[in-house]
Structures are given as structure tokens and as C-alpha cells.
Symmetry: C2
Subunit: 208 residues, 2 copies
């Protein structure tokens, strides 16, 4: 149990995946006494998602406040960013003192490319697992997992899995009861078991 | 099966619920050949969600293009809008020729207040069911349902239920196979049965 408010920073970029961002932010954002959300992006202002609709960054990367929980989404924009050393250097620096460094979907490819998963176990989207697991080095990639928690690195599988990880993080920080209440409030059936992953087998990453 | 592209308009307002909007837009937005998304709001530009993060409207209500699918989210902002006759009049006019008029969560309260559910069956968020069902007249409210389809009015239960309804609408328009593929692609466990609703009983709206 943890009484303080966590400052949670989510990283937008051109081509971010909508639900990777807004699934978790729905859950964290319902609890303003527990989580203060900062949205950061290439510049303060709109960034376009992979699906088209735009969201607004509160701060440019260069002005991002310190956040003790970092959330990195996936989306098609990750394919370019793993080659962008300025972005990766910023992400590494900004995340270096965070209490929790988390990702949804192919966001773990960005964390890996930034070196933030070296020495950690991690997972990613099951349809982009080969791409994600080719980023960075010294990561123990887990092909069958809804999400993976390894010390302060939490990485989820694709897109919708970010909501299950977000609820698990709420449970970890504030207790199981608040996570169950949060899931019920948004009428979401929480998959509480991090090893539940039917999508691994569907994509040839686990026995069917 | 329907080969044409549907123009889908989603209605933002101050205090919209994040996942009501971005759960369905994740699914529709993955299929740009089938759905063209227009985001409309009080003005073109940012609108703040109930959870804090902002999204961008492409068009002001007054300039909204005709959309053959209308999607109205819920969120705390609905409580004010049911008293806003200018908004309700606009929504009624804008939706009057749409092929499908849909809502997520307390968005059905807005549709009801605008008279758009008169003579239809509908559902809403199970924690705000009393409020939603007090809006408008001549609506047959269904207390236990993940979503309700009645001719061209599709209304879902709270927040996460919008994703199940969106997948059902994809199946209705383009076939079951595309809906299953869409759910798998985002690693979402689709609840295909519109009568699946454990949240009704949890909120005293059905036998436990």
C-alpha cells in the first residue's frame, strides 16, 4: 500500500497506438488522488496516432517533468524511433530515475533499444515479437505472457494487454481491492493472471 | 457484407470518457479502408477528457460533415449536456440521417435526451443506469446487456463494453471473420454475446 500520489508520464509520438495509451490512462486517470498524469510528446501540442485521431501532449520531451512512473506505448511509430538516437537518449535519461518503467505492446522495443531492459525479463506484442525482441541486447524475452513484471520494469503484450498490466500495477501500489473496483467501474473483465496469453499460441509463440 | 467505406463521426465534449472514445476508435481505426474517422467537438481543437488528457476534434459541431455512423461516448460531461438544448438539437439534426446511431456508456443518456432513442430498446452504464434511464421518454431500457442493437440504434453498457459493441458492428457490416481478426490483432478477448453482463448483477440490476 502506498499513500502518495504517483506522477505518471506517458510518451506520445507520431504513430502511437491509441489503446496502448488510453486503455491505461482510463484506469489511472480515474484515480486522481493516486496518479497525476503528464502527457509528453515531441512538442507540446497534438500528436497523431497510428489510427488517425490526435491527442495532445502537455509537455515537449525536452521540458518533460520528472515522473516516477514512465509509460511507453507501441504503435507503428516505434519502427522509426528505434533508429532515432536523440529520442532514445532522451528516453533513457528521462526514465533513469523513475520508480517504474513500463510499456505496452511494441513500446518494449523502444525500451529495449534505449537499453532500459538490459538484464530484465520482458514481453511485447505477439504479432511483432520478432521485431521487438531484436531490439537491444541482454533482454530475456518471454514469448507467452500477458505482461511481465521484473523488479521495476513492467512490460505488457499487445494493445489491450496494457489494461491488465495497468490494473496489476494499481494492485501492486494500492492493493487488490482498488484494482478490482477500478475494473468493475469501467466494466472491464480484468485478466489477473500474467501468464494468461491465448495470443501467444495464435501467433506460433506457444503450444496451441 | 458491405464493401464501401463508412464515415464514422465521434462526438467529443468537455468531460468525455477516454476509453468510451478510444476503445472503439482503436478497432475502427485499424481498418482505414472500411472506416473513415471524423472527430467532432465543441470547437475544432482540443477537448479535455474526464480523466484529464486531451484529444483533438477535427471539426466543430457546427461544421461537422455528414457521417453515416455516429458514435456518442459517455463521461461526466454528459450530466451538463442533457440540459444543453443547443447541443441536443445539433446532435438530433446531425444524427437524423445517419445509418447507425451508436453510444457507449452514458452516451445513451445523451441520445435519449435528444429523443434519438424514442421507440427503441437501449442500455447504458450499470453504475449510472438510473440517471441514463431517466433521460428522454419512450425508451425501453434494458438493465442487463453488454450492448443492445435495435434496428439502427446500438447502445453499449459502460466504458469497456464499447469495444465489444464496436466488434459486433464490424461483424455486422463486414462479417464475423474481420471482427475476430480485429480482436486478435489487438489481443482483446471479445465478448461476443450481447447478453453477457456480470456488471448488471454487481450493481443490483439483475439476479446475482
Amino acid at each position: 500500500m502506498n499513500p502518495e500520489t504517483h506522477r505518471l508520464g506517458v510518451v506520445l509520438f507520431e504513430g502511437f497506438e491509441l489503446l496502448d495509451v488510453f486503455g491505461p490512462l482510463e484506469l489511472f486517470g480515474r484515480l486522481p488522488g493516486r496518479f497525476r498524469i503528464d502527457v509528453v510528446g515531441p512538442t507540446a501540442g497534438p500528436a497523431q496516432s497510428a489510427q488517425g485521431p490526435r491527442a495532445v501532449a502537455d509537455h515537449a520531451y525536452s521540458d518533460a517533468p520528472f515522473c516516477d512512473i514512465v509509460l511507453v506505448p507501441g504503435g507503428i511509430g516505434t519502427r522509426r524511433l528505434v533508429e532515432d538516437q536523440a529520442f532514445l537518449g532522451w528516453l533513457r535519461d528521462w526514465s533513469s530515475n523513475a520508480g517504474y518503467v513500463t510499456s505496452v505492446c511494441t513500446g518494449s522495443g523502444l525500451l529495449a533499444a534505449a537499453g532500459l531492459l538490459d538484464g530484465f525479463r520482458a514481453t511485447s506484442n505477439k504479432r511483432a515479437f520478432g521485431w521487438a525482441s531484436a531490439q537491444g541486447r541482454d533482454v530475456e524475452w518471454v514469448p507467452e505472457a500477458r505482461w511481465v513484471e521484473d523488479r521495476n520494469r513492467w512490460t505488457s503484450s499487445g494493445v489491450a494487454a496494457g489494461m491488465d498490466m495497468a490494473l496489476a500495477l494499481i494492485a501492486h501500489l494500492y492493493g487488490e481491492e482498488l484494482a478490482v473496483e477500478s475494473a468493475d467501474a469501467v466494466e472491464y473483465e480484468w485478466h489477473r493472471d500474467p501468464t494468461w496469453d491465448p495470443f501467444a499460441a495464435k501467433n506460433g509463440l506457444a503450444p496451441g
